[in-house]
């Protein structure tokens, strides 16, 4: 009896302790993001935990898996702002709903209960800005449209939905595209359809042949390709953008067999465009070896019969084609096709890429954000999270005046505009202002802003989101065009003899690139 009493006491004590002290369900540690808690209450997917997070200060709406970003949409220009602009530029007419067509919002409590964001088509994630390249390089689709991308009518399949911004970008530039989105998680589709009004509206819009501009399919991509897509008309573009948490590719969606399934439903001149997170060279400071992911994707595409492969590394804003860092882990847009893709073989395609302007109807200088970040300039790394400049109030204008705009290399991105300083006093002021603002709101300091030890410089970045998007496209295309260094042959070390081979050999060849097969589907292992 005594033993039972002790047992009961111990059990009750543990239960009370565990219950009262239990860790709250995941909460965002960032500050000043709209409706955080309401969004978190919306985590209802049985498959994965997903939430929308909005920050008006930093101009983004993101679909997140816990704290991992799954995709980012600029809050501004909003869809409403695009509709207003359409009055001046008829090229935006394909984004204007009739009043009776305005999306009907689902019944019941709305996220975030008192405010529904109305995002437009401008991407907050850099790699998405390269999606149009998958259509522009397609000689057959573009020729049928007389070279005018607005008249192009590609059949597009997108595998992996995320926030939907990639689809919005495609729908913006290709009004006649028929887009099928395949995602394994119905909850993600519901989140996008219910909280991204433009997406919901696109699913109701019909093309000339009666097919919808956008449709969602909740299915595993392998199953869809094997059982459904084979009975449909051939596709002109398949976009592979399926990721699980972080930067892990579902391994069955990066194998020779899967790519062959893609090739089987592609038009003869169609292409696959894959978002591949990886590097070109091993980063000595990082434990993983992400170049094997990049190299593996390229090699696997070639083994699956999509023999012509070209990679567009997505440059970050402080890089230029001349200062391309081959150890840097980045998003890569790998495009693979049966038709020759290179600048020599597909000169017209590359001319279109060079002449292309993202969001040409949108004015510059209208949708800007300013932020501060601490830098460990010795290792040229960011040492903190971004903090919106608006939080610093009047102090910001004074600090800005004391920072010189950074002089970029001539071939670097001109947007966003960076100002750097290693002035101790200036850093102290920003540091104190951030601490005051956050602690004043009883909020934990954002990452890196509690200790200035590792930081020896400060950056203030002014981002014009439309200009940023255009520059990412321009600079990434300019980088990829650099002789033959980003072709599948160059990346996996199969450059043909002769043809000025030595001049074309890059220093980042990946000769040990793995071949991913259904027997060795290991893209996720190298991606850790």
């Amino acid at each position: 009896m005594k033993a039972a009493l002790i047992g009961i006491t111990a059990m009750v004590a543990a239960a009370v302790t565990g219950y009262t002290l239990q860790d709250e369900p995941y909460r965002l540690r960032a500050a000043f993001q709209a409706a955080d808690q309401a969004a978190l209450d919306h985590r209802d997917s049985p498959y994965s935990n997903i939430t929308w997070v909005a920050s008006a200060d930093e101009n983004y709406l993101q679909l997140r898996f816990f704290d991992r970003v799954e995709g980012g949409v600029c809050l501004h220009p909003s869809w409403g702002e695009l509709i207003a602009l359409a009055g001046k530029d008829p090229h935006l007419a394909h984004l204007v709903p009739k009043p009776e067509d305005l999306p009907k919002l689902p019944a019941g409590p709305m996220w975030p209960y008192n405010w529904l964001p109305d995002p437009g088509t401008v991407s907050n994630s850099a790699y998405v800005r390269l999606f149009p390249a998958g259509v522009l390089l397609n000689q057959k689709v573009m020729a049928a449209a007389g070279g005018d991308w607005r008249a192009a009518a590609p059949r597009v399949m997108v595998i992996g939905l995320g926030s939907g911004i990639g689809i919005a970008t495609l729908a913006h530039h290709f009004p006649k595209a028929a887009i099928t989105v395949v995602d394994i998680d119905q909850a993600v589709i519901d989140m996008v359809r219910d909280h991204y009004p433009l997406m919901r509206w696109l699913t109701t819009q019909k093309l000339a042949d009666g097919s919808p501009r956008l449709r969602f399919v909740a299915r595993d991509a392998r199953q869809y390709l094997q059982y459904d897509a084979t009975r449909e008309k051939a596709y002109d573009l398949i976009v592979l953008d399926a990721y699980t948490s972080g930067s892990t590719i579902p391994p069955h969606l990066m194998t020779r067999e899967f790519f062959a399934q893609c090739a089987a439903v592609l038009d003869e001149s169609g292409m696959v465009l894959a978002n591949v997170i990886g590097s070109y060279e091993r980063d000595p400071q990082s434990p993983g070896d992400k170049r094997l992911v990049t190299g593996g994707a390229v090699r696997t595409f070639r083994a699956a019969g999509l023999a012509s492969v070209w990679n567009f590394p997505i440059l970050s804003s402080n890089e230029s084609p001349g200062s391309f860092n081959d150890t840097h882990q980045r998003n890569n847009i790998v495009i693979a096709s049966r038709r020759k893709l290179g600048p020599h073989d597909n000169a017209a395609g590359w001319d279109r890429l060079r002449g292309f302007t993202l969001y040409p109807e949108l004015p510059l200088g209208t949708w800007m954000t300013d932020s501060y970040i601490l830098i460990d300039s010795e290792h040229s790394r960011y040492a903190s999270a971004w903090v919106p400049a608006s939080l610093l109030g009047a102090t910001d204008a004074k600090l800005r005046a004391r920072m010189e705009p950074e002089k970029n290399a001539p071939d670097a991105m001109t947007a966003p505009l960076s100002r750097r300083s290693s002035d101790r006093e200036l850093m102290d002021q920003v540091f104190a202002a951030v601490a005051q603002t956050y602690l004043g709101h009883h909020l934990p300091l954002p990452k890196g802003w509690d200790d200035r030890g590792g930081a020896n410089a400060l950056e203030r970045r002014e981002s014009d989101w439309v200009a940023f998007a255009r520059e990412t496209f321009r600079v990434s295309v300019a980088t990829a065009k650099d002789s033959n260094k980003h072709s599948g042959e160059a990346l996996t070390g199969d450059l043909p003899e002769g043809r000025e081979r030595d001049a074309m050999v890059p220093n980042w060849i990946i000769p040990d690139a793995p071949l991913f097969t259904d027997q060795m589907p290991n893209a996720d292992i190298y991606n850790n």
Binding site: T17, D23, F66, P287
Partner: protein, 219 residues
């Protein structure tokens, strides 16, 4: 009543063990992702803890005269389950910050989080073998039945966790509730004494428990 009570114990412990394995994957995901490394770590830790648990449980069983040690071990597991919602996530976050290789980080996390409770549940089987033992003539059928029941508990734990619990109950609440159930079970064993068959009888029956294969490891 003696055998059904012991079978019920086996089924509940088997259920909680495998449900924790399934839920444990989801518990780790926010910090360490959902790659195959996560499952490799979790499965290896559960099997390892079973193996250690069998050895320890076997030694305890040899000395046990009643089901009282069983009650304490199940309460111990219940306490870990109840406290996990408290220390689990903060611990993993600290680990994620300090161990930069995801592969080792997740293995360490799985060891610290899941080894103690599953080890304690692993000790249950050998002790139950001793308790269900009534004589050499029935040792095969009673232990066989015990393992079968325990494995059914495992299967239910996996399927119910995946098909039902994940969908309708939060992770913390899930793990916590299983802790409470284990606690109640453990206390019941302290309150209701079940005596093992006497050592003399056991000796006469040529020590059958020694050669028994491991139960409950089917993953």
């Amino acid at each position: 009543m003696r055998l059904p009570a012991l079978y019920l114990t086996s089924i509940i412990c088997g259920f909680c063990m495998m449900a924790l394995e399934i839920l444990g994957g989801r518990f780790i995901q926010p910090i360490f992702g959902s790659s195959i490394d996560v499952w490799a770590a979790i499965i290896s830790v559960f099997i390892l803890s079973l193996s250690i648990g069998y050895v320890i449980g076997g030694r305890i069983a040899d000395r046990a005269r009643t089901n009282q040690p069983l009650g304490w071990l199940i309460i111990g597991a219940g306490i870990f389950y109840c406290l996990m919602p408290w220390y689990g996530t903060p611990f993993m976050e600290a680990l994620g910050e300090s161990v930069h290789t995801a592969r080792w980080g997740v293995l360490l996390a799985a060891l610290v989080l899941y080894l103690p409770p599953s080890l304690l549940l692993g000790t249950v089987s050998p002790i139950l073998v001793k308790l269900v033992f009534t004589g050499a003539d029935k040792v095969g059928s009673t232990t066989g039945m015990l393992y079968a029941v325990g494995s059914i508990g495992n299967v239910l734990g996996i399927l119910v966790a995946d098909y039902v619990l994940l969908k309708y109950v939060g992770l913390n609440a899930n793990i916590f509730s299983m802790g409470v159930i284990l606690g109640v079970l453990g206390v019941a064993h302290l309150l209701i004494t079940i005596a093992a068959t006497s050592p003399a009888a056991a000796a006469a029956s040529q020590a059958p428990a020694a050669a028994v294969a491991v139960p409950g490891t089917t993953v």
